[in-house]
Amino acid sequence: LAKTTQPISMDSYEGQEVNITCSHNNIATNDYITWYQQFPSQGPRFIIQGYKTKVTNEVASLFIPADRKSSTLSLPRVSLSDTAVYYCLVGDMWDNDMRFGAGTRLTVKP
């Protein structure tokens, strides 16, 4: 099982770019990196997934260096509504080898 380490919390201001880094030193060849967002009283929601290099969608980017020992979720121009807990998952779900970490609580201030 790939162990992940994320900051417990982060603060930002509206309009800023936020980067949340996840460390996963023992990532395996078949492991993917997935990020979820969770608001209070809701289940987590999928944000983005990647294997290597850079992935971008309409809400975020995911940067994965060549050694894949870390990854960075980038949220452009955050707003107050981006205040949430963000989870990094690393593993191979289809081999029952993927676990949620403790998450990063992002607070966006006006």
Partner: protein, 112 residues
Amino acid sequence: DVKVTQSSRYLVKRTGEKVFLECVQDMDHENMFWYRQDPGLGLRLIYFSYDVKMKEKGDIPEGYSVSREKKERFSLILESASTNQTSMYLCASVISGSYEQYFGPGTRLTVT
């Protein structure tokens, strides 16, 4: 839009009671999961199912069982509820080959 529903948002049960938590998804997903979420621990996998009548233990199956008689429904059973099972329970489903899990809103269970 994928919808995952859970039978209750809040539930209060007494120690020793048998508790049933129901989860239903409407997108014909083969795979379903039960997690519990506790402060500082993130989500921990209890059980998952890759197909009807099929189940696999996750990290913390002790004190729980599951049932999947139909593709759309995955039930979590607490055989004899204990206070340390007070938690938020989350159900998720995903189509085979994808990492995009769809979660229900959760059931906050309190065992007194």
